[in-house]
Each structure stands twice: as C-alpha cells, then as structure tokens.
C-alpha cells in the first residue's frame, strides 16, 4: 500500500495542474502531507529554505513548474536533493532594473569580489530571511520602487508557474500589492511559498523549523551528515497543528538514526512536545 501514492504521482505526471490537492515533498509527510491549491505557506525558523524546497518538491515531482523570485543564493544541489526537478525551475534574482546593474560576480575570484562595495539595495538580496534585518542604508523611496518591481515579477510568475517561491528579497512588498497577488494565487490555484516570514502576505499555513542539532559533527572533528529538524505546521488553514522531528537527509547508518539524545530516555520517542533547542544543545554540548 505504501507504493500507491508514489504510483499515483507517477501516473498523474503533468496532470497535477488539474488536481485541487497538491502533495508536499517526502520531508513533510508527517506534518503537512498535502495542501489545497491557492494556499500561501510561510516557511520560518532556522531552516526556511530547506522547508520551502520540501514544499516545492511535491508538486515539482509531478510535473509542476517552480518559479523563484529574489533568492539568488538558493543552493541548486540542495534543491535537486530535496526533490525539485531542476528542468522545471526558473528564477529571477533581481527586480527589473531602473538604474544600477551589478556586474556578474566571478565565482573563482574571491578576493576581488569580496572587497567590492555593493549598492545598498542589492546587498540584502543575499541575506537569508532569518538573518535579514532591513538594510539601514536603504532609503524608503528606493525600497518602495523595488517592492513595486518585485510585485510585477511575482505577478508574471503566479500566472505562469504552479509553485512560486518568494525569496527574502521580496519581503519589502507592500500589503496592497500582496493582497492583489494573493487573490491571483487563489484564483489560479498556485502554491505560494515565502522564504522567511513575509509580513505583507497573510499566510494560510506556517511551517516553523528548529534545528535540534547536527549528526556527525564534533568539536573540531567529523563532518556534518544530517540534522535533526523539528517541523511544526500550524496556521489558520491547518485544523490540527502537527509537529514532528525528522532526520534529514535520511541516513542509512544505524547509529545516526537514533532519536536526538533528549528523547532517548523515553520508551516511545514521542513526536511532541519538542524539547527546547537551547536546552538540548546545552545537554548535548
């Protein structure tokens, strides 16, 4: 019976566009197996990008296209391993230009690019959402202009793709533009995912992530193999909030798939309540 959903996904390849319920990626099977089309999901906490990729992986596997706006730093290998089909991934890193263009950075030339001063309004493009405080140097008018231009990009993406990831650079969107976009999202049946909390969007589902710890890493030795990730799905469209701790990526090693130390004492590793991360780290460290 476990093979049935996979078979179904394979058979409906490309037909996902006509279904009202969209499956999520395998990582979210325990907390958010599927959502209705037209849902806005806000991925927050310590691993918002990984959560957003897990959301996109489900529809993408069954033939959906994924648009990414304002997340130039997205790790493509991570996206591929999460299950996003790279052949159906399209990204816009910067909003339509009005004036200044940053020359393309050369990856191998660290010292040169590292010293370059970036225009203030571009600097925060690289900010992951959970770090991002609005750059102080950006003036208000600058920000408003950029927000409007991002709204234009997002509108085209919502019209054309099945899943749209709104990256950290699109946080500045104004509430009025965000409302119009969300109306479009609902009528088109798109899944809109925000990377980090976007205040302008009214999120239907919130996906909170907490990293409990890394497996394989010690004090000056080892190598990061996987992390224990606490997932918490809640929000106004989630009737029963659910929480689960998962090991990602799934390891084939017996010792590594042990539950996180704080839960080992319990006979049955109950998925909730999750331990306070700070306390766990203290006891582990």
């Amino acid at each position: 019976m476990t093979a049935l959903p996979a078979l179904q996904a394979a058979l409906t390849g490309g037909a996902a566009a006509r279904q009202r319920i969209v499956p999520m990626g395998p990582l979210l099977a325990g907390v958010l197996p599927s959502v209705a089309r037209g849902t806005t999901i806000s991925c927050e906490g310590a691993a918002p990008v990984a959560a957003a990729l897990a959301v996109a992986a489900g529809p993408s596997r069954s033939g959906a296209w994924v648009g990414v706006a304002g997340q130039a730093s997205l790790g493509l290998q991570a996206a591929a391993e999460a299950g996003v089909a790279l052949e159906r991934l399209v990204a816009v890193h910067r909003p339509p230009a009005v004036a200044v263009h940053r020359p393309p950075a050369v990856a191998t030339d660290v010292t040169a690019t590292g010293h370059r001063a970036h225009p203030a309004h571009l600097a925060h493009l690289a900010h992951p959402a959970h770090l991002a405080t609005r750059p102080a140097a950006t003036s208000d008018s600058d920000l408003r202009g950029e927000a409007e231009r991002w709204a234009e990009v997002l509108a085209v993406m919502v019209d054309g793709f099945d899943v749209v990831l709104a990256g950290s650079a699109t946080r500045a969107l104004r509430p009025a533009a965000a409302r119009r976009l969300q109306a479009r999202v609902q009528s088109r049946g798109v899944v809109l995912v925000t990377i980090g909390a976007h205040p302008a969007f009214a999120a239907d589902v919130r996906l909170d992530t907490t990293v409990l710890g890394w497996v394989g890493l010690g004090e000056g030795h080892g190598l990061a193999l996987a992390r224990h990730l606490d997932l918490h799905a809640h929000g106004r469209r989630v009737p029963r909030p659910r929480r689960q701790t998962v090991l990602t990526p799934q390891l084939q090693l017996a010792w590594a798939s042990q539950p996180w130390p704080a839960q080992q004492a319990e006979p049955e590793p109950a998925p909730e309540p999750a331990p306070e991360p700070a306390a766990v780290l203290a006891s582990a460290g």
Binding site: G13, G14, A17, A46, A47, V49, A50, L53, G63, A64, W65, S73, L74, G75, L76, Q77, A78, A79, L86, E87, R88, L89, V90, A91, V92, H93, P96, A97, A107, T108, V110, T113, G114, R116, A126, H127, P128, H130, L131, E152, V153, V156, M157, D159, G160, F161, V211, W214, G216, L217, E219, G220, G222, L223, A224, A226, R227, T248, P249, L281
Partner: protein
Amino acid sequence: MSVSGAPIARVGVLCCPNWPVVVAGATAGEAVIVLRANRVVAVSVAAGDQGVTIGMRRRQAQACSPGARLVAADPDGEARAFEPLVRAVATMVPRLEVTEPGLLGFLARGPARYFGGETAMATRMIELARRAVGAPGPGGSLDAAGGVGVGIGHGRFAAGIAARRSVRTGAPVVLDEGIEATRRFLADLPIAALSSIGGVPVELVELFARLGLRRLGQLADLDERDVLARFAEPGRSAHRLARGLDERPADVTDPPVGRAVQHEFPEPVHHSDIVVFQARRVAEALIDGLAGEGRTCTRLDVLVETEHGERSRRVWCRPDGLSAAAVVERVRWQLDGWAASGPASTGGITRVRLDPVEVRAATGTQPGMWGGRTHADEWAGRAVHRLVAVVGETEVHVPARGAGRLPGEVLTWVPAATADLTDATERLRSPAGPWPGRVSGPPPTVIHDPPRPMVVHDADNQPVGVDGRGAVSAAPAGMLIDGRRRSVTQWAGPWPVEQRWWDPTMARRLARFQLVADDGRLIEAAVEHRRWWMLAEHG
C-alpha cells in the same frame, strides 16, 4: 478499408549502402571496415564475405576479418565526397533530396518520361553515378562497396527497398505501377525492413515481431483503426508504410537551400554571452522564416569566426527539428567547446553564421498525455517569455551543470534565453571528471556568491587562524556575522583546498570549516589569507 489521400507519387531512390567504404579509398577486393564509436557502420564486399556485418563491435569485426583495414568514419568527408554524385544526378532530375551521404531520393514521373521510360532512366542514372565516382572521385571504387543501385516504386519506402535489391543485382529494379502491386511486393518482406529502411522505431518493430507479425503483409492486413488504437501515431505510420502508402511525399528541396543567415559584429566581441544573444535574434528570424513556410530545420551548420580569421564550424543535427532555443543552445555549446579546447582563438568574435543544411516539412507536435510535454510546460514557457520582457533577457535564470568542487560551482545559473527549456537533459548532464576534495554530506541551501565576510574568534576573543601546515591556532568559540555575535556549538575542519596552483590568476589556497551557530544553522566557512568568508549555509 479505404485508401485515403492523393495517389502515391512514383519515387526513385539511388542508394550506395556502404558509401563510407568508397570514401575510405577501398579498392576492389580489399577488406575495409568503417567504424564509428567502435561500431561497424559500413563494410566492403570482401569484408562482408568474411562475415562482418553492420552494427558489430570492433573486436568481433576484427575476429571475423583479421586482415581488414579499419577506418574511422568521417561524416563530413563522406558528405563532401557524395557531392559530385549528387551534382551528376541533378543533371537528370531537377529536384532531389539527400537523405544521407550514399542515399538520395527524387520524383521519378517527369524524368522518366523525358528519358524514355523508368528502366531506361534508372540504367542511365547508375551509369552516370559510376562515372561521377570513377572520374576525379574520392579514390575508392564503387565495386568495393558493392556498387550502386536505383529503385523506383510508389513511395519512398518501397523505392528504398527496390534500390537495395538493385544494389545486389546490379540492374535497376522498377516496381509495377499501382498501389496493389506495391502492396503485393511488400507483403512478403520481413517486418524488420520497417526499421532498417522505413525509419520506424526499432522498439516498435521488435514489438510487432513479438506479437507474431513477422511479415509486412500481416501488419497490412490489420484494420487501421485497431493499429491506431493500440500503437498510436507511430503504429499508424508503420501501418501505412506496410500498405505501400508513404506517410508523406518526399520532402523535396532544391539542393542549395540558400537560407543562411549571419550577423557581423561591428567590433570584435570577447564575451560569449553577447555572441549568444545575437545568435538568438538571428536564429529566431531563421526558424520563424522557415516556420512561415511550414518547414523546420533538422540540420544546421554553425560557423563562428574571429577577427583573425580562425573559424569554428560544426553541423548540428536534430531529427525532430531545431527550435530557436535549441539553435541558441547549440551555439553556446560550440562556443564553450571552442574555448575549452585550448588557445584556438586569439581574438574577439566578429561573425556568426547559421546555415540550415537540411529542412523538412514541419508536422507539428501534440502535447503528450503521459509524460512528455504537458500544458504546464506550455504555460511555463510563455511565462518565461513574459518574465524576459519584464526583467530583461539576462535576468531570468535556469539551472545548468557547472564544474568545480566548491558548493556553488557544481550547479550554476544560466540565462533562460540561452537555454533550451523543452529539453534540459544536455543542460543538466553530469559533469565530466571527478572533483576530488569535494566536501561530502548534505549540500547547502544558501550559497553566498560572492562570499560574505565574517569573523571567527576563540574563547579568548582572539581571531582564529590556520598555519601553513593546516593546523588551527585555537578552537573556534564564537563568530561575528553581520555585526551579530553567535557562539559556535559544533565545528569541524580545516579542510585545505589548494586548486589551480599552476595558474597564478586562478590559484586559490584556502581552508574550509563547518561551524554550527547557536541557532542551529550550519555555516560553511573558509579562511583565506587570514580573512574569514561565509561561503554557504544550511538554512
């Protein structure tokens, strides 16, 4: 059962099945084997007598015929050598199409009337072909390759089979007039002829054979509706071939297509992106122009020239027809391949020329029901065009395979305008070569390009460094990212990376670390020249 459509044209086919052997310069009686990718593609008569067949592996062929001369296939040379023969035939028949070197077709009705009957014309044509090869020729003898044959019949498929038969007998084979006669001729032939001559997929033909359809006649006796229902469009076209009905008349084009387009740059261009964007405009004009005539380009000759006259020329082929995006992608491959092959070009690029070497009628495509191209793909393709209109063609990105060992080098972004969105297999193909020294484990979700500066300090607030032998001065205890302090809970490293040390401009020497911040984020950091950089994070 009704035979629909217009009467099937009388088509002639001239065929020299082992043409590469002639080009390889084989003399009569000499055993010659032509190989491509270690597979036999053509054999001389002497080698064939010893048991060498097309499709064999190199070793098998050598075992059958130890004394044979092995020659690598040279498709360009074969095409060049075929040209005199094409010209000779073109003096007899005005309109002909070259399928591949060694095989050409023409409409037979008109010329046959002029030359006094089909047999007379075919005999004359064989003679003409022999003389054309004999005179200045490529040096080889036609007899070594088994000779040349001309067959005439209704439709290209029947004519092709007749031509093969003619090669064996040495005299032209002219099939009887009328569709019923053609069908009787085909009925006894093995079903495999569909794939070897008719171009039907081998898998489908093997399936027919497994289902007990071993002769063309057995397939032809089935009801067309049943075949269509069971095998869809490929089955229907195979069924039509078996009944002696060609899918469509020969796509005759005048030998010089003469649709070459080019762009000359006013100043030499040193950046391949600019060349590719210009090529895109040119390619769109070319493909749109062809599409307006209901044609599609299946083979394209791309020429790139630098200011010093160096040239890169390559013929790209795609049996389904090349879209403008596919053309642009091939131009990009060619430029990349040229740049990668070493110091082949010394100057900027001044000219790009696209010459459609082969065009054929566009048959259109239908979105697939199971997999293949879907409506979502159509929609997305349009959305990409609109995005390009909004943000500019350099600003819409799609993933492509890169090369390197650092997190952002394995997969990179390329402009969508230069990529083929309908077929991403080439774009995302696994990279060549291993990259030793790659840090394994889960890939980071956030990659900072360019890397962002950070500070890492030890418990005494002293900066942490790595000495020349790769030893850490002290255990990292805290870090400063964007002016915010974080303590380090877990860490590993250093992994020294020393790459491209042979090239002073590209050389890098750094040590990589993995640091876990107190909020659980894993940061991939590197220290280079005593400065710390944040390369990537797992966020």
